[in-house]
Amino acid sequence: MYQEIFKKYEPTKDNLIYILHDIQDNHPQQYITEEAVLSVSKYLNVPINHIYGVITFYGMFSMKARGKNIIRLCESPPCYLKGCDNIYRKLKEELNIKQNETTEDGLFTLELCACLGVCGNAPVMMINNDIYGDLTEEKVVKIIKDIKGEK
C-alpha cells in the first residue's frame, strides 16, 4: 500500500526521513503505523530498530494516531518567558486533553515543540502549517472556536 510513495524515492538509506514524512503526511490521522515501518524496512533494507530510533528521535514524527489539527506549542526559552505555560494550561482545559493526546472528536492533538523561529511574536504555536503568534489565553480560545466552526 506504500508502493505509490516508494516509487518516488530510490531505495537508499538517506531517503528514510523523506519517505517517513511522505507516509505520515498521507495518513488521514497523520502518523506512521507499525505496518508502515515494516514496509519501509523491507524497501530500504534498513532494520526496524534503526527506523524506530529515527521516528522517536524527531518530534515531528508520531507513531500514535493524531487528530485532524495538530497544535504544536513552542516551549523554548523565549516563549516560556512570555508565558507559554499559561497558554498550555488553557489549551489543555479548552480541549480537555493532555500532552500528545487527541480530542475525542478527532479534531485536535496537542503537542509541545522546540523553537518555531518566530520568537519576536512569542508565545507562538503552530496548527498544521499555520503560525499563530502573540498568544493570549483569550486568543487561544477564539482560535480553537474558529477552527471548530470550520468543520
Binding site: P47, N49, G53, T56, F57
Partner: protein, 595 residues
Amino acid sequence: MKMINLTINNVPVEVPEGTTLIQAALKAGFKVPSLCWHPDLAPTAACGICVCDVEGYPVPKRACATPVTEGMKVNTNSRELRELRKTILELVLANHDVKCPTCVANGKCELQQLAYTMDIDMEKVPKLLEMKPIDYSSPSIVRDTNKCINCGRCITVCNDIQTVYALTFADRGFEAHVDTAMSWGIGNSACVNCGQCTVYCPTGALREKDDTDKVWDALLDPTKHVVVQEAPSIRASLGDEFGMDMGTVTPGKMYAALRALGFDSVMDTNFTADLTIMEEGTECVENLKKHTGKPVITSCSPGWVKFVETYYPDLTPYVSTAKSPMSMFGALSKTYYPEVHGLDPKDIVSVAIMPCTAKKFEAQRPELARDGVPDTDIVLTTREFLRMIHEAGIDFQNIKEAKPDEGMSFYTGAGTIFGATGGVMEAAIRSAYFLVTGQDLENPNIEAVRGLKGVKEAVITIPGFGDVKVAVANGLGNARKVMDKIQQQINETGSTEYHFVEIMACPGGCVGGGGQPFGNGIAQRARRGEALYKEDANMDFRCSHHNPEITKIYADYLEKPGSHKAHELLHTYYFGRDKFKGQVEKQTTGLDSHH
C-alpha cells in the same frame, strides 16, 4: 608504526599513533574513571565521566574519544575534574534504580564501583526515576530499563559487533532510552539471544532470565532424578570467581560443586561434544565424498542458528542437521540414560549449565521436545551456576575434586576445545581425517583455526580426498561476512569454495558466551580459550572417535553415526524466521530425507 610521546600527570609515556587518551593513561599507570567506555568497543563518549584536562584546551576532553597527539600534556585529576565527574555521576544515580543488595550485578557493577570509589553521598542524590516495567518477554534475557544508564554499550554490541539489530536508542533528551523496535520487547524483536549485551552492560539492566529457582525446586524434590551436564567452557570460567587464576580449568571441582548442590547424576556436555563430532563429522565427510560444492555449517551455537534462520534462511539447508551437544545430551538423558538405569523418563529433570543465554531459547524449541516435554528442562548460565555455588556456601577453591558419573561424561581433547572459537572445526578435522584415511593426523593441532581473529580460513589436505577449504568465524558480524560470501558464490556459480564452516555467535566462541561472568571481555576470553587448548594438549585421548564411551554408546544404542536411531535422537531441522520479530515463517529443512 608511528609512536607518539606525551605526558600524563607528568609521567612521560610513548604509545602508537591512534591510541586514545584513556588507553595511554592506563599505560602511564592511571585508570581514568569511566563508565560507558569499554576496551573492546568503539567509544561512544556518552557519559562524560572520563573528562581530562589537556593543556591548551579551554574545556576538558573526554579521554575515551580523544586520540593522543605529540607533546600532549594531560592532567587526569584536578579539583574541577573531580567536581565534574561527581556531578555527572550524581545525575546518573538520580535516574538509577539503586537496588544494589539484590541486584545480579552486585559486586560486578561498574556504576556501583565508581560511586563507591568516587565517594558519592547517596543522601544528596535526588530520586528522579520514574519506574518503568521490566521486559520479561524473552526466554533468555531480561531488560530492566530502570537500571539502565544509557551508556549505549548494548546497542554498540548488538548492532556493530553482532549485527543483530535488536536494540536502539529511542526518543531523545530526558526521554532518551534503550529500546527494541516499537517497544515490542526483546522476545518480540530480531534478538537471537546471544546475550553479549548482558556481558557488556556495566550495570544489572541487562541480565539472563534467572532459572535457579526451578533448579533448586527440582533438587529439593525427592521424586525427581536430576541430571546435569556442563558445557566445555564452564570448566574454564569458574575458578577466577573464587580467587584462582583467570582461565584455571577445574572439571574436578566443577563436578564436586554439582554433587554438593545435590544433583543425582553429574555428567558432561563434553561427551556429547565428541558425539556431535561423530555425527557432524560423518555428515561432513559424506558431503565431501559427494562433491556437492555446498558447505556443511556448524549448528552448535543457538544464537547463530537463530541468526541464520532470521537473516539467511536460504542457507539453512547447509547447516548441519546434527543437534548441539546440549540437545544431544538432553535427548539421551530422556532415552538412553533412563533405559540404562531403569528409570522413568518422566522423573528425570535434565539441567544444562551453559555459558550461553541463547541455550535457554534452544531448550524451548518445540522440535527439541518429546511429547511436549523439553529434552533439556532447565538451562542455567555460568552466572546463575556461580550464584548457586555461593548460595550453597561451597568453598570452591578448596573443595575436593570429584569424578563425574559414567556413561555420558568421558571426553577427549576434541570435546573440550568446543568451548573456544575454531575448536569445533579442529575437532571435526581430526575425526574427518580419520574417517577418510583410516589414520590419525600426525599433528592434531590445527593452529590455523585457533585464536581470536574474526574470520579464519585454512586449507587442510586429506589424502584420498584432496584439499578441504574451511572457514571459522566468531561473532555474528564476522559470520555475516562469511555468509554473504557463500551466498554470493552459491547464487552466482551454484557452489562455494568452502567445504566446512564453523560459526560461533559470540566473539571468542563459547568462552565469550552471553551467559559468562559480567565484564568477561576479549582479554579474559583469550585466557579461558587458551586454557581449554592446554587441557586438550594434556589429554590421553584427543580425538572424538577414540572416546571409549562414544564407542560404547554406538555399540549399545546408536548403532553407527548417521544411523536411523542417531537421526531420530541426534538430528534436527530448521526454519526461516522474519527479520522483525524472529517468528517462525516456515520450516526450511528436514522436509526431505537429508540434504
